[in-house]
């Protein structure tokens, strides 16, 4: 995965797209983008763009998949064939199977699934353009889609990527940074409860660097949470 570049990725303390190390790209969020779903959202971090939609809670079929004492959450993370440099063949690959699982795990702690016995909450993330940090962008979108579906949550989930590149710790990796980083870390959190629900790390770090990155991720998730909250409030102001 990833194509190396020969360019310096940090020049005079700035990243190739002009950002300072701890700055995120422009973030756009909106909800209720998909009228066919119970809830939906669209989130971009720079060019990386994810749609998310939620269908349910609804009865689960075939019946042998039902659990009598709880509902289940199902999650599908998918990239559109045209979202990447080399066309991606349709259908799940090993990467998307794994990401779908860890995203599901990132949301199970925030839902009250035991309130929906024999039911399923089906959630879908579609990446239509991929320029790094797709899974965390998808998580941010799904968090808002669940909220817009009116599904009770213990907290929102906010997510961001952090990493190390040219010996510099950075936040919100774009595509070229992702492909050339020494290390990258994906974090999803319940920001009000200070609980981590997704943590994946690749590449070499000392423990001290890891701890610094985790703290950076926590701060960034809190900023993202503010944008999520504001977007939802603007949309549903009347309901409060």
């Amino acid at each position: 995965m990833g194509k190396a570049t020969d360019k310096e990725l940090i020049v005079n303390g700035r990243r190739l797209d002009g950002r300072e190390p701890y700055h995120m790209r422009e973030i756009k969020m909106s909800v209720d983008e998909i009228s066919s779903a119970n809830g939906s959202a669209k989130v971009s971090f720079g060019k990386t763009t994810a749609y998310a939609s939620v269908h349910g809670p609804r009865s689960l079929f075939p019946k042998f998949l039902q659990e009598s004492d709880t509902g289940i959450l199902r999650c599908r993370y998918n990239m559109a064939p045209f979202s990447v440099d080399d066309r991606k063949s349709p259908g799940p690959d090993r990467r998307s199977v794994e990401i779908s699982k860890v995203i599901r795990r990132a949301f199970e702690p925030v839902l009250f699934l035991e309130d929906y016995p024999k039911s399923t909450v089906d959630s879908f993330i579609e990446i239509v353009e991929a320029d790094g940090s797709t899974r965390v962008t998808g998580i941010n979108a799904l968090s808002m889609a669940l909220a817009s579906a009116g599904i009770p949550m213990k907290d929102l989930v906010a997510a961001c990527s952090v990493g190390k590149i040219s010996d510099t710790l950075i936040v919100d990796l774009n595509g070229v940074e992702d492909n050339n980083s020494e290390s990258d870390v994906g974090v999803a959190m319940m920001p009000q409860k200070d609980i981590v629900t997704l943590l994946q790390m690749d590449g070499i770090l000392t423990k001290e660097e890891l701890v610094m990155l985790l703290n950076l991720a926590r701060e960034s998730c809190k900023k993202i949470y503010q944008i999520q909250k504001q977007t939802l409030m603007e949309k549903y102001r009347g309901a409060e």
Partner: protein, 252 residues
Amino acid sequence: MMERYALELIEHGKRVDKRKFDQFRDIEIKTGVISKAEGSAYVRIGKTQVIAGVKIGVGTPFSDSPNNGVLIVNTEFTPMASPEFESGPPGENAVELARIVDRGIRESKSLETEKLVIVPGEKVWTVFVDIHIIDHQGNLIDAAALAAINALITAKLPKLEEGKVVAGEHGDKLPVAHKPVTVTVCKVGDNLFVDPAIEEESVVESKVSIAVMEDGKICAIQKQGASGIAFNDLEAIVDLAIKKAGDLRKLM
């Protein structure tokens, strides 16, 4: 509920959203929406939303047409877009939609595949048109065909260096000679109408998708639906499609 209501309205010459029988919902077309794609278009017809993305790569020609590039049209009905869509390989509806869109482009000779040869008989451009359904609120075929042709006419060929694609850089425009437009005409009882909303779609008895070229010639037809159509109704259906195709083309 909504279906019965939609049916009653149609039988009284009306529609759920007060449109006329020959009237489309409002249409939005945006091109260049996916910068990673060689060409792309977002099409919204009412609440139905579709993104078509064109990816172009270096491939080998088919052995029976060594001097032509390759066109591949693909659709996935992602479950995001409708509670009725399921994960998994494309079902018969997704396959049929992709093949209708494909034929509209292929049979009109819109894509000039003879200009897509890199090394004759060995290397040609392969043009993938992937149609991603964002929200399914009726009339996917017309939306998908409109997105596909708009993505194609705005697409650029990748830049080649020493026979390899340079990621992110582009050269000439993709050679596209025609702009076919597909219109699906629906039939309920004796009523013909276009652009069904999703509530109407479920009561449609039969429908005919017709791809029309700039000069009014027809380049593809597909009858759909579980009912037959009286032979004598066919001409009126074709006439309506030709007329509406002209209207749609003005939006491009």
